[in-house]
Symmetry: C2
Subunit: 299 residues, 2 copies
Amino acid sequence: MNELKAYLQQQSRLFDQYLEQYYSFPENNPQGPVEILGESMAYSLFAGGKRLRPILAMSACRLFGGTLELVLPVAVAIEMIHTYSLIHDDLPAMDDDNFRRGLPTNHKVYGEGMAILAGDALLTDAFGHLAAVDGLSEETRLALVRGLSQAAGSEGMVAGQAIDLHYEGRLDVSREILFDLHRRKTGAMITFAVLAGGMVAGADKEDLARLETYGQSIGLAFQIADDVLDETGTQTELGKDAGSDREKNKLTSVSLLGLDESRSLLEELVNKAVIVLEPYGKRAARLQQIANYIAVRKN
Amino acid sequence: MNELKAYLQQQSRLFDQYLEQYYSFPENNPQGPVEILGESMAYSLFAGGKRLRPILAMSACRLFGGTLELVLPVAVAIEMIHTYSLIHDDLPAMDDDNFRRGLPTNHKVYGEGMAILAGDALLTDAFGHLAAVDGLSEETRLALVRGLSQAAGSEGMVAGQAIDLHYEGRLDVSREILFDLHRRKTGAMITFAVLAGGMVAGADKEDLARLETYGQSIGLAFQIADDVLDETGTQTELGKDAGSDREKNKLTSVSLLGLDESRSLLEELVNKAVIVLEPYGKRAARLQQIANYIAVRKN
């Protein structure tokens, strides 16, 4: 586990280094609104996330022999989309959160209007970045744009947020709805990150189907683990108030299934993710370790 | 002028017909949040806009011999981006508008959270649609994705909105800032619509440079005409409160340059747009008429 943690930290650093050099902001007039917009985007983009989605893309790419040079710009686009979703999700009209990763949320620093715009800009720019990645075929770049749009759009992540918003304060929903929520809100983008890594490395159809099963399993596991963590973690571990989901009467796996059943479902999902990658033998060890890690992480 | 109006109405109807068949929403559970999200997106997408950007793309495409089949899906993506920007622009944290085109704004009907999500979903889906247009080369589709992202993103439309937000209530700004605002907030997307029509039809570099000059000129003209209209139009003509920009101390060409100078600048811009298309003779008549129309329209 310590060895995996070292790997995750090193990959996250690699990604951050690339992001800093890749992602430049206008600096000529630090007082101007275009610069403030860029600063607001950077504030959230560099707020020290775990970089789980980039690491998944990088690890999946490596499994199929792809290079970091190819996957890093794709990982940046994915993290931009993830970051925008956090900014908008924290807004007063959505989850109304004051802290994220131990820092004040974007709208607390830059105001609500600028936070909406920073999210919009990250979302919009991400597709331009993706369409311009050097070294990938035109076909692959278009497939990535389509895949990212589907995973993040009106039937994917945004639909998940709509479900979340709709059922806020209601605990009388079915587990079908709960899993639909998780699959869309968190699972779709995690699955896409894994798939994108494979696509960049030229994985074939069968490989991609396996990656999809892996991604869907850990995507759901990730959200359930998040719900368990929100209930059982401490404020220091979480970087936000513990039990905040319960206080807001949010629909979570813990509120619906209880802690025990949530944990056993988590185990089942992790096993599924590990088994589907067995055909790749030792080469899949990293992705399998990550699946296990997702279920037991502390933050 | 009446003949042009008939043309604009007919083109707008053509676009709307295509949009309705192209743009399908999940209907199986009208009470579910994913369906409400789709309804909220449709509410604004079908709220009866002038469809100026689609018509510009269609007319520019026709000038270079392109077909409607090719340009209509591209026009849909452009209108989706335009629609998202209106939904977010109307939010309480932004312009805080209650009416748009004579109808309650999206957040007044669906609530603020759902309106934010509807905008996000339209924005995200637009790029997926664009990447999947049949009949266009992969190279053209990628160029369109990059161009749309640039026109709409952190250096284009969103930057324009950041400038707008930043200077709200301040009338002590230079005309450089005002024109930078207009060029980004309105001009960039209008210019892209014109360029996209040309790209779809296979216009060459010199053609695209002319279209760009045309688009930039009418883009700025459009916004100045809008400012003039906001000051001089009636509530019925506008579909919103007249003088609402002035009441909010918004930075507009009228507040900065006065009515007379705004009008003469408008004329200058329209002339520039008309002249740059003269090499195409009569074939450019429609685009030239539209340039004139933009300056004198009543809504």
